[in-house]
Symmetry: C2
Subunit: 286 residues, 2 copies
């Protein structure tokens, strides 16, 4: 297991940690300012959200690399199915391909996929997952052509109804095995998997080459809002060392990406302080 | 699979469906009035909460059986570990035994166990589950003596931090196998397990004799409160038939217990209407 106590070059920032994924939150720093703040502190990577990028993908990607940061991801695909998805298959696939194209222009190594919830009226997670697999399989050649990995991200089961019918690493690995293309991988996020004691065995099935990313935060014992009340590493109940051990034992050696949605706490603080604390907690608690 | 379309004698009411588990909710019907209302409608069983019973366990149990209802459970043990548990091991075990004694006096076939969240400061679900297993194993002889089964209830992973470090049927079956006493069983609740596609294989490990109860409700796609916004069967995204098939294929042939926590909807309605709708939905959607 890697020792981060004196080296945080494997640390990456997901800009959601500064409130950049939801309108009206955070301090509103421009991508350039975040890039500089991360580079000054020795972060190794950065992950943006589409809403920050607009038409400037190439420019922002080059700016990040010039500052010494790898763009290790882009958030995210549209919801593919369920109540929050666009109304037609065509609209979903068009936006899915546009998100892949943006990741490619940015030079991001992967695009995160949030699959969307159970298809309305189906009452069936299985049927919904079959539809997801169809859509993902259709996007795979486009992603391969673009040189972008697709990172299937199983979300916490609390989101099963509306945001993700993919709720376990097991189900994500099953989908990867069924589609069987090296461009399709899995993102492992502490918030979504911390409760799953079968994680080590599922990640062994996947192997390190199948893990597209590892996302850090913590699960607060008294979580008040399941969407926007994530904890800083060390403030919650997740066994962060055990989870990273499972990820690394499977063969992963990539970035550890801090991604904290926290409307009532971290998004209200000075981003400079938040970044400093991310570095400190990464070294001491992860 | 049993056909309930013209027979709801397997239907049981958990009185939480009428708001009886939380102060200040529901219409406040006395146990006798609920017993009569269930018996009139042809329910087969009823499950009470300790707070309704007080010192009247023997009397209420006899009243239910005289009306033709089986008392098929009592809710519930105290939290055994975690932030909501009583402050000492002694206090927890005393209250655990008191809850077993109340179930015996009521003539209830089982006592539901909600194990409590991750032990504060441990950052470890595994360590917390080991402590739970110690406490449950200590209570098993008392339960056997009292003739009451203990129903380990894995709760939804959203409660992992504070209410239950036991969040999957898999982990519950593991604990049953480790303790290996026929008095220790598992309760399967749609709300907590609907997202788990490994349910059939885990229930096969357990077998019908290891299933202490099957609890019905639905998971609303737009759940607003993870504690008190459960849905009526048919109003959500759970595959109720598939879940019951898994339970029955494992060998379970007992009651199907409706347990709907719903502060903003069902608890505000006339209990008589709620009970009528439970019967109708049981016949058509479960």
């Amino acid at each position: 297991m890697r020792d981060f106590s004196h080296d945080h070059s494997a640390l990456a920032l997901n800009t959601a940690t500064l409130g950049h994924n939801v309108d009206g939150h955070g301090a509103g720093w421009a991508p350039e300012r975040i890039i500089d703040a991360c580079a000054e502190r020795g972060f190794g990577g950065i992950v943006f959200w589409r809403r920050e990028i607009g038409g400037r993908a190439v420019e922002i990607g080059e700016r990040a690399r010039a500052a010494g940061l790898e763009v290790c991801g882009l958030c995210r695909s549209p919801f593919l199915v369920g109540p929050l998805a666009l109304p037609s298959r065509q609209a979903v696939m068009d936006d899915f391909r546009a998100s892949i194209d943006m990741a490619a222009a940015l030079g991001a190594s992967c695009l995160t996929i949030c699959v969307g919830g159970v298809i309305e009226g189906s009452h069936s997670m299985r049927e919904s997952l079959r539809r997801v697999a169809d859509l993902v399989a259709e996007a795979v050649p486009h992603a391969a052509q673009a040189g972008v990995s697709l990172a299937l991200e199983p979300l916490h089961p609390v989101y099963g109804g509306n945001r993700s019918c993919l709720v376990t690493v097991r189900d994500a690995v099953d989908m990867c095995e069924a589609i069987a293309d090296p461009v399709l991988k899995v993102a492992v996020d502490v918030y979504h998997v911390w409760w799953d004691l079968s994680l080590p065995e599922q990640l062994r099935r996947l192997g390190g080459s199948g893990i597209a990313g590892y996302h850090l935060c913590d699960w607060l014992a008294d979580t008040r809002d399941v969407l926007l009340d994530r904890g800083m590493m060390g403030d919650g109940v997740a066994d962060l060392r055990a989870i990273r051990r499972a990820v690394e034992d499977a063969g992963y050696a990539g970035y550890c990406e801090v991604e904290i949605f926290s409307a009532a706490n971290w998004w209200k603080r000075d981003p400079a302080d938040v970044l400093d604390i991310c570095v400190e907690r990464f070294r001491t608690h992860c």
